[in-house]
Symmetry: C5
Subunit: 359 residues, 5 copies
């Protein structure tokens, strides 16, 4: 998984420029992890699960009536993807999209299957970063192939439900399995939103008190993360909407309601992102206003002190002059008089400031 904030560079897509379309090139983080392929084959009554070493074992399931879920962890071995593509007649362009870990979420209709790409998000508690991983689904009539970038356990709960002979998933087809996988991924979005929400709230709590560059830096960083989350999740809304509009086959009417639920959840996540962004913008405004009020207070103190003492300092300077003929110096109560006059000036100024509401 990649840290989401690194995605802004998109260097690898460019590095592919110059190659003919149709040649598979892995675009993503360098990795040497092995590819793991697991197959789960089930219907209402039967269930089989195993890890396969030879890809050809998979092809047998293509025409069986049972639901077959082939999960592939690791897309950097493009030859594996190539063989899968050949075995299941997947369009070369889709294979390209599968190995390009920076593909925009989308749904496409192939000849006998649908192709869905979207993003899994995970919050890394250690680094406090949101990590993003691409998930591609090939949803055929009797088989579903899922491609993940790394070996992960996110779908273990789905696997457990499949293992349970009484669960609803055993009675439905691949369209429901696809829903279950997407639902799991979108459920994870809410976990991310919760973390984001906590951080937004913490920032809002500090809007009126924190006045330093670090605070601005925190807001700026969180805002950037939200922008990238939005860029990642936003297209999924259109993807599910396309599925809902029935523009794509293989989704049965009884499963549609579940997809509508997915749509609802996606919209809710996007709504939250928008309102978080809005909140951050508002915090910046408020923080700036507060800072400016403080600046104002500082300036007022400076002005009051200066305007009171500058004239007084001038006056004492006058009587510090060494002129031979400076009559006031020889008055008996000259000093006392000048002190009184200065007290009067100070009082007058304070009165003026009070009237002007500066004090």
């Amino acid at each position: 998984m990649k840290n989401i904030t690194n995605k802004i560079k998109e260097p690898s897509v460019a590095s592919k420029s110059g190659l003919p379309p149709g040649r598979l090139v892995y675009i993503g983080k360098e990795t040497t992890a092995p590819v793991r392929i697991t197959v789960i084959d089930y219907d209402a009554d039967n269930f089989a699960e195993r890890e396969v070493k030879d890809l050809k074992e998979c092809f047998a399931f293509k025409e069986t009536d049972t639901v077959t879920w082939i999960n592939i962890d690791g897309i950097h071995h493009t030859d594996v993807i190539d063989k899968i593509g050949a075995g299941f007649n997947i369009h070369p362009l889709f294979l390209e999209d599968i190995v390009n870990s920076q593909q925009r979420p989308k749904v496409e209709e192939g000849k006998r299957y649908n192709f869905i790409v979207f993003k899994m998000l995970d919050y890394n508690d250690a680094t406090k970063n949101v990590e993003v991983e691409q998930l591609s689904l090939i949803v055929g009539k009797n088989y579903l192939i899922s491609f993940q970038e790394n070996i992960g356990d996110i779908f273990d709960t789905v696997r457990n439900r499949v293992r349970n002979p009484d669960s609803r998933i055993r009675k439905y087809g691949t369209d429901y399995l696809a829903y279950a996988l997407m639902d799991k991924v979108i459920d994870n979005y809410f976990v991310i939103m919760e973390k984001m929400g906590e951080r937004v709230e913490e920032i809002e709590d500090n809007a009126f008190t924190k006045q330093d560059t670090k605070f601005i830096r925190d807001i700026s960083y969180l805002r950037r993360e939200l922008v990238l989350l939005r860029k990642t999740i936003w297209p999924l809304r259109e993807v599910i909407n396309t599925l809902l509009r029935g523009e794509v086959k293989e989704i049965k009417p009884e499963t549609l309601l579940f997809y509508r639920d997915l749509y609802d959840h996606t919209v809710q996540v996007i709504d939250s992102i928008e309102s978080y962004r809005d909140s951050l913008a508002s915090v910046l405004d408020v923080n700036f206003s507060v800072q400016s009020f403080r600046m104002n207070d500082v300036m007022k103190v400076l002005t009051i002190i200066s305007t009171i003492f500058i004239p007084l300092t001038f006056i004492v300077g006058v009587y510090g002059m060494n002129f031979e003929n400076l009559p006031e110096l020889h008055w008996k109560y000259g000093y006392q008089l000048i002190m009184l006059i200065m007290a009067g000036i100070a009082a007058g100024m304070i009165y003026y400031f009070k009237k002007k509401k500066w004090m």
Copy 2:
């Protein structure tokens, strides 16, 4: 009811992540209040009302020709919801939405009923907070089931109208009853808007005079409330629009006009929220401008005092020096001369400032 500004966290939805879809999990404020179930059964001529203890009593009404309104106060006992769902054949996904108090407002078409979710708002005079509660409606041909989070009296006026044998509500079906409930809820929105309007107006009145952090804090808090109100009410517009477009069955043409009226009211509430937000933004701008004008005034005074006295103080400093050979000190009218010169300088500067319009 939850304070609306707490909603920003949405922690509970995330806590559900990991569970299979279809298992009922209550998402909302912890509560131990009992669940109250009341049944009102009526048509133009008959009327019966009672509080039921055993859920099975309700199921009898499912097929009768009379209109049956089952009101359930309390959604935290998920087993009750489960039984209701089984008795009335409600889709499991809808049951999930009913017990998730953070569901986005929406309308869905079930097999023989419509499912509507939206939010009730209440202004708590004691805490000066807007409280939000979820209302879910299952609108069947002859029955309407309403789910509230807490025991409340908001629908007492509707109950009174049902009790009155001459009221229009007795002559119409469940679609009109659903309208009456929604109308009551939207009427309450106007009460909230009135309170908000008063606070906006108070803030507008102070836009030119209040210059402190507390004022900014008030604006910021009210703005946040308006954002959340908007997020709560906005989807209702689409809900009613879907009902109006006739995409959902069970609404008779003669009731459509009433729903159009609801739509009008919702749009009016949203318009008000928008114009309040606009007003607050404008108050912030104006307040900042005014503050900056004052800052300017302060700076000008500082500048005038400083620029007049700093040079004069220098001059008196010159004649305070102790040089043995400082001829002016021995002039007869040296002191008087220097005072005149300084008066001249001060007058020149004041003239300059007047010309520059700084004074």
Copy 3:
């Protein structure tokens, strides 16, 4: 008529909350003025006009072939509205809208008539306020009922045209009469726009010179008025568009062109409001920039004076010290030398500021 800027509160709508829908409640300014009902009955050849006391006189015109225009000034006597509604079979919801002077502009199709609500605007030269009044039209095949809040003379020109046997209005039906009334109201919008335009222009002329809180207050107030004008006029655009799209019956093709003209005018008014708002926003920006330039100028003068004299004052302070052993004091031309040195420092600083372009 109500001052438009008071509308922001909308208290009365809330006060209705709690009543069943369908009961007529007047929402608007308290008034005890009597209700005036005038009837004009005409076709190409005939013309009759009178003020009626008994409402039943009106009902006779319902089925005649001539065009009958019933104008009702005053909507606070809800019983009068009730009787009219009963006599002409008007839907209770529409009657409610008629007596709610804060209804959003809209058009609805009734059984044998169209119902149109919109706002008349009037500029009160004495108070310099825009006043708003609601106009509701029931446009049947052979009759048109108009409801005004107050007794007014705005439609006198329309009446005069009806009285003139050669005018086009006598040859057309109620759809053209409705057009003539709306055209009159929209013509008045242009008068308001002219007044607004004058005020906007005056503000623009002062954008670079006025630097005080009152100016900001003027802008802020005008901006608020424009927001409310926009809120009042904007929905009318959709109203006329609905009429144009032919979604509503009773409008003959030959009258459609006139409605298209209305639409044009409404769009032009809205365009003007938008460009006025834009201008005001721009004036605020410009004014702020100018103010900040001036602040800058003030700061520069302060800095120049301070930075030149503060070091010099220090130097003269040095030679004002009373140390016994302070050799320079005893030099023959110590004073002259130090004066030269200080002149040199001042010159150097002025040169530095000139180079930095601060002077």
Copy 4:
């Protein structure tokens, strides 16, 4: 032609308020210039051109098969427009629009003709103003009537092309002639855009150096002009789009491609206006930032000088006191010591400022 920036007032439209629709009232700049009517009659083989004095001469061309272009310079003589309207059966509302020089650009379908209104723009090199003039076209099957506000030579190139028997215009009908006229007008828009572009570029070049009110004034003025240009040109896009969508008759398929070209050009002009406005907004931001950086620099110098010398001045003040018992004054190297101490303080402060990166 009127200066475009004067248009913001729109006083004359309001002055018409109160008149019945259908009465022709000239709305525009007062003028006493005579009306000039020229007729060009042509087909592929024939060509005739003359200036007519009696309007009746024109009516003869109404039914001929040749293309007849009647150009009318001057719309303030409403009786001429009235007669033309009667002769060619033009709808009274269109006549009203023709003599209202502030009509919003639009296209309408009449009984046997299309009615198109839009604006000609001209850059007056002397006053450096954009001048706007209204052009109305009545495009019938065999005749085209164009109405200009003033006598102008803008269409001379079109006339020359018509005079040339080999030009494409001679082979096409009135729809192509209308295209040629509109194309000429839109070509002129590019000239305006070029002038605007030069001014925008000049302003962008100065964004980092000019720091005065005049610069802000220039930006503000140019921005206002762009807003008005946009308001003038924007509706033309919709006009041509309506023509393209074929909602209006009389445009032959082979001419459609030319209109698509017009649409392209209009969009390009609007794009340019948008990007110019964007540029100006950005210049304002940048200019403000730069100004604020400079202010910062000024403040830093002030602070550094003040904070260094204010404590030093205090110290020399201490030893300028006249206390009888002030031991340091009698030390042998008191003066030298205090000078060293002060040098140390100054050095420390400079070090502190360097560390803080203020110097």
Copy 5:
């Protein structure tokens, strides 16, 4: 190729104003380079490639069944374009667009071909500028004519693929060839985006540390480049969408999927541009905030120093006065006392500032 930031002027389009439509005028940078014409003729089995000198050689390929790709480098020799147009029956308006290097990207349907215009972008490493070049395609059934402004090697990879008898391109028709060319151009967009991304990232890294005009200038310049990139690429989205919607003939269903891929890529590029612009705007805000925090710090130091020392300086001034009768001067420990008092005042002020959190 032209530097993209120079495009803002668009002088040449205006210079064409006054000419009849249909006359070919080259609009672009002055150049005297020769025109190079290369022809590649191929189908699955055959392949021929050569540079032609006489245009007539090309016309022979018009009716052959093989795919013919005629590439023309240089559009400034309008007579060449004219002859091509005549030979292939290209509409004069399209020829005009081809030689106008500032044509907005678009697609048009001709009689037996489609006409596509869009922009190639190239990053010039030497000047660090994005250079823009127009590419026009005439896509007929059996021939494709591409027009480039300059001799370039961007399509060499496409040529290599055509030369390879096993490549997919040899089996498809002109629609796929057009796709291959557009794909190549859009691949280059990603290279530009990478460069932009690097610069945006560099700017983001400096947002909190760089505080000078040059930094603002860099942001401003990059922002301007992004605006122009957006203006250049944005219309391409609509172009490909038009092709996808099947509004234009000659694109076979099996090629559609490839065009959908193009669309995806274009949207991805536009998304990146938007998020880069967003990032820059945010950097400006953040930078301004940081600067303002620093200013605040500077002001605080100034205020603290001033407010502490100004009153003290006044006090020492008092005892520097030369009054004969100034009793404190003669006290034994007057000096020590006054020093203690001043230390007390300073301590009090520091305590006050600490309490106010200014220190």
